[in-house]
């Protein structure tokens, strides 16, 4: 699903050049549940941004679902993001003046899908995350866990190939974190490829593969025995 070869990225900070990624090789197959770990500054978010086409690599190649991702125009990148990827953010990033159903329907809107189908789909995915009764609530009327579940529903709504989650439990307490992970595990069980960036080992252990980043290179890449989140809820 994702093939990354010799990926490099550096940022210019004033006169200093900050080499964030120093040659990453990563191969992720369909249906995998991968967590990217590392301390702050290890380059894990940069890697996720490049995979998410929010940022572009300086060197190396990146192929997503057999499509080489290189020199994309803004428009092309937007279309690919919409088609291939679902995003889950640490701070949820729901649009605060749209209710849950409208938020979930937003990626579908940008796909040019008709209102009726958008509505059906958004309700379907809200139901999937157990929030069909909150469809007409604004984000401000939802708890943190509920917000993240709406965000998950939104990420799923466009039926992406890969789900990218940047610290999805970073703003949540342990109990809600495990609930969210339970959802992600359920989605993964259905065959969806998921990439999670986290620095919490317990969260990482709930995935199937842990990629440890340190100073811009992969330090360790291990398949682990998945801990089911449902056991902790």
């Amino acid at each position: 699903m994702i093939q990354i070869k010799e990926l490099q990225k550096s940022y210019r900070m004033g006169s200093n050049e900050l080499h964030v990624l120093k040659g990453i090789n990563l191969d992720i197959k369909e249906g995998e549940f991968v967590s990217i770990m590392g301390s702050s500054g290890s380059g894990k978010s940069t890697l996720l941004n490049i995979i998410g086409m929010l940022d572009e690599a300086d060197k190396g190649s990146y192929v997503l679902d057999d499509v080489p991702i290189k020199n994309l125009s803004e428009k092309k990148a937007a279309i690919y993001r919409n088609k291939f990827l679902g995003f889950i953010f640490q701070s949820f990033n729901l649009i605060n003046y749209k209710n849950a159903a409208e938020n979930v329907a937003l990626p579908l809107y940008y796909q040019g899908i008709s209102r009726k189908i958008r509505k059906e789909k958004s309700l379907y995915y809200l139901e999937k995350v157990g929030l069909e009764d909150r469809a007409h609530h604004l984000p401000s009327e939802l708890s943190g866990g509920q917000k993240q579940r709406v965000a998950i529903a939104r990420a799923l709504a466009s039926e992406p190939k890969v789900l990218l989650a940047d610290e999805p439990t970073g703003a949540l307490d342990t109990k809600t974190s495990y609930e969210v992970m339970d959802f992600l595990q359920g989605i993964n069980d259905e065959g969806k490829t998921i990439l999670v960036v986290t620095h919490e080992p317990d969260i990482a252990n709930m995935t199937k593969r842990i990629v440890m980043l340190k100073d811009g290179v992969i330090e360790k890449d291990t398949f682990v025995e998945q801990v089911r989140a449902s056991e902790h809820v």
């Binding site: 803004e74 428009k75 995003f87 701070s91 990033n93 940008y110 796909q111 209102r115 466009s158």
Partner: protein, 419 residues
């Protein structure tokens, strides 16, 4: 372009606008005010134009009054302050010798220049009214609308008939209600005159309103013993004639005839309607032009204010725009939405301003009816409205481009980066 007409686009825009009603309201005040000013000033200028047109419509505007006073410079053996008296013959001279003069009408009047206003009696009722001795041609200068009977005619002049035409106020004051004054006799300065007509009130201030009496010039000569002397004369030029030049020529002729110094400005006075009309026309034109400039400048300022606020809005919505981009919004869609927001706000404000401006004008129109002020049917023509709308759409689009470009230049990654 298709996206302008889809319900979803508008839902997105309304969502963004509804999100902050106060800001939206403040944003549109500028344009609202600009259009209001534009409509109100244009309408007011038009109202004044119409008002003046109405006042002048019964008046030959290419005409003047001319009278004589005392000389200001000693000349030809005469001292200064010599009284100059115009005579009936002067009117014939002017009419025949000055090019461009259409006709000259001598006039005499009692009760106009500070002399006693004649007493007019009908049975037990009486009043003091001004009396004019006129030729029928005066009707060409200041059109009389007759309610009853007729105006003076040439036969009255020839036969020196003792007849008169009275104003409608005199009819009201001297006659019983429902009584027809035509054919009846009234006593003017102790002489009986038969009433032959009643004229309507004339809005033109320089003339006789509704409380004057017209009698034949020749009758006036005899009754008030004025001989060949005349009070003043009305000189009308041909429609395209430069009446100011005519005034100059007439004065020069009279100066030669009465041995008045060529540079004497005091001996003959004139009130030139053509000159005044030209000034008023120029004034109204200037007013309309000023209104146009002020209106456009204010609209421009308002639109810039909208652009300014949208720019702030975009800054505030950086994160939202980033999320939208991450979810697959194309740059064009973001740009389009912001420009459409700008145009929509501009147009809403503008149409609101036009509506309120229209209401204001209609209120002013009602108000002006009770004033003695030339103001009638203040309207703004459709081309002007179309022009204003076009300006708003164009400026709204142009100004929207700035925040739209800013929004598009936001990289989703920058927008989403945690603070």
């Amino acid at each position: 372009m298709k996206f302008i007409f889809t319900r979803d686009t508008w839902q997105e825009i309304f969502g963004a606008i509804r999100k902050n009603k106060l800001r939206t309201a403040i944003t549109i005040i500028g344009v609202f005010w600009g259009i209001l000013l534009f409509v109100a000033l244009q309408g007011a200028a038009k109202g004044m134009e119409n008002g003046f047109d109405d006042r002048f419509k019964n008046l030959a505007t290419n005409s003047m009054f001319l009278w004589s006073e005392q000389t200001g410079i000693p000349y030809g053996g005469y001292k200064r302050n010599r009284k100059v008296r115009l005579e009936l013959n002067d009117t014939y001279r002017i009419a025949s010798q000055i090019e461009g003069v259409q006709f000259v009408a001598p006039r005499n009047a009692k009760g106009v220049f500070g002399d006693a206003v004649p007493l007019v009696i009908n049975k037990l009722k009486s009043g003091n009214y001004r009396v004019f001795g006129d030729y029928p041609i005066i009707d060409k200068v200041s059109k009389k609308k007759l309610r009853k009977g007729r105006f003076l005619n040439q036969k009255d002049i020839q036969d020196q008939r003792k007849i008169c035409v009275i104003g409608e106020r005199i009819e009201k004051e001297l006659f019983e209600e429902g009584e027809n004054p035509v054919g009846q006799y009234i006593k003017i300065s102790n002489i009986y005159f038969q009433v032959v007509g009643v004229y309507k009130r004339n809005n033109t201030d320089f003339f006789e309103r509704d409380n004057s009496i017209f009698i034949p010039f020749t009758t006036y000569q005899k009754v008030f013993n004025t001989g060949n002397r005349i009070g003043w004369m009305v000189i009308a030029g041909y429609p395209k004639e430069d009446i100011i030049a005519v005034e100059e020529k007439v004065k020069n002729l009279l100066k030669r005839r009465y041995t008045v110094h060529p540079n004497d400005e005091r001996a003959f006075g004139a009130f030139n309607f053509g000159e005044m009309f030209g000034k008023i026309t120029g004034f109204v034109k200037g007013l309309k032009f000023t209104a146009l400039i002020v209106g456009i400048a204010t609209i421009l300022a308002g639109v810039i204010a909208i652009g300014n606020i949208l720019l702030i809005t975009v800054k505030e919505r950086t994160k939202e725009i980033g999320v939208r981009r991450a979810l697959g919004a194309k740059p064009g869609e973001i740009r389009g939405q912001i420009i459409l927001e700008s145009v929509f706000l501009t147009l809403t404000a503008g149409l609101l301003g036009m509506t309120v401006g229209g209401l204001l004008l209609s209120y002013l129109n009602d108000l002006a009816k009770s004033w003695d002020f030339p103001f009638l049917n203040p309207t703004v023509s459709l081309p002007y409205i179309g022009f204003a709308i076009a300006i708003m759409v164009i400026l709204g689009t142009l100004i929207g481009l700035i925040p739209a470009q800013r929004a598009v230049s936001i990289k989703p990654i920058d927008a989403l980066r945690e603070e």
